[in-house]
Symmetry: C2
Subunit: 252 residues, 2 copies
Amino acid sequence: MLALLSNDDGIYAPGLEALVSQVSAIARVVVVAPEVEQSAVGHAISIYNPLRVTEIYKSNTLYGYAVRGTPADCVKLAVAEILDRPPDIVISGINLGKNVGDCILYSGTVSAATEGAILGIPSMAVSLATYSNPDFSYAARFAARMAELIGRRGLPHGTLLNVNVPALRPEQISGVCISRQGRFIFKDIFRKLHDPYGRDYFWLETEDIQQDANSDNDLSALKQGKISITPLKYDLTDHGLMKELKEWDITL
Amino acid sequence: MLALLSNDDGIYAPGLEALVSQVSAIARVVVVAPEVEQSAVGHAISIYNPLRVTEIYKSNTLYGYAVRGTPADCVKLAVAEILDRPPDIVISGINLGKNVGDCILYSGTVSAATEGAILGIPSMAVSLATYSNPDFSYAARFAARMAELIGRRGLPHGTLLNVNVPALRPEQISGVCISRQGRFIFKDIFRKLHDPYGRDYFWLETEDIQQDANSDNDLSALKQGKISITPLKYDLTDHGLMKELKEWDITL
């Protein structure tokens, strides 16, 4: 099994290192990840900028390829130029911080896996639901386990798995939940500040999130101490609304 | 009706100007758009950079607000800080170039409308299917017509419309097609080049696209000389796969 590993926290991120360490036991691993952190870049790709690639060594051994680009760039470039054959799986992560609900649209971690799915490769994004004192070891072992399962059972073309692991000790984790993407209500708050020259600027500070009522979504699973696995697809068509729109009087 | 207009080609883009001109006839228009072109940024938001806002004047009249950020940033900042009340509609465009199929994941134009939908505002992205000698006037009139219809009929929470107009003379356009997002097969091609110092770099050059067989998709509609309208939602859950995943033996 050939596994392409990427992330959005950058090639030196501990979450990626933990993933490399565990997935190496079950697959040949190639790391192609952004040179620097690319959080919240969504599914950006570089079309107006060239992409540079640098080989990264650790202890005199090739660790991976650092790309001066986005997570989606990394996967595209890896498949087209760096790897000698298409990978059997793309794994993105382990992200520092959960990727659930509407937020997955902004997630660079998920976008690397989405790019894998677009290219027809079984793909998975893995995130750890904490920002402080992360211990990636259990999440990495779980990711390797899932990679084995995906290798055996396959995924439909165009589908990826979005895995979120609660930041608990293994014995505190109360199982796995196959969940749907939650829907939240956002209230963006921008902090208005002044630079040393007296000019205003804004900084997106925080978002008040009001969760939807259903209990089978990704955030609810994490709150119950469960690992959340959400199958995602990149067909965004609202098939249900197509029929209604056909009844609109759309003429100019 | 209060209409928030944005785009990804930048606040000075002719496609946006055409939209302003037509939508102003049916609504109070506020323009909040990126300072510079942001194509292919996907649904990126700025969380590690401050956002600067500049008022842009044309003929001594306030034309709009230029944001040094992404299309999604523009919509967030407009709703949270710039507008005095939530807009009745978000319209993004008119993009120079079509946004169909898998490519809508990379589209900054679509992402501004997606952000509107996330915030609970009826939203629409409009693109003109050409890169050369664009005449935005018909597409702008059509967008204004659609805005009126959306105002009257509404859209479900979380759904946006992705409108693509063929670059034909009005009398050549053969109607409207309510279409689904096409699925294409990509083959990324990177050009490998050398800088003046002999170092390699890569540039994403072109993508061979093999279209899916179905005729009711967005690209097919354009090829038939029709305006394509695709309802999109940002719930990415692959509901069909949830049941199957529950049967996997997911234990560590």
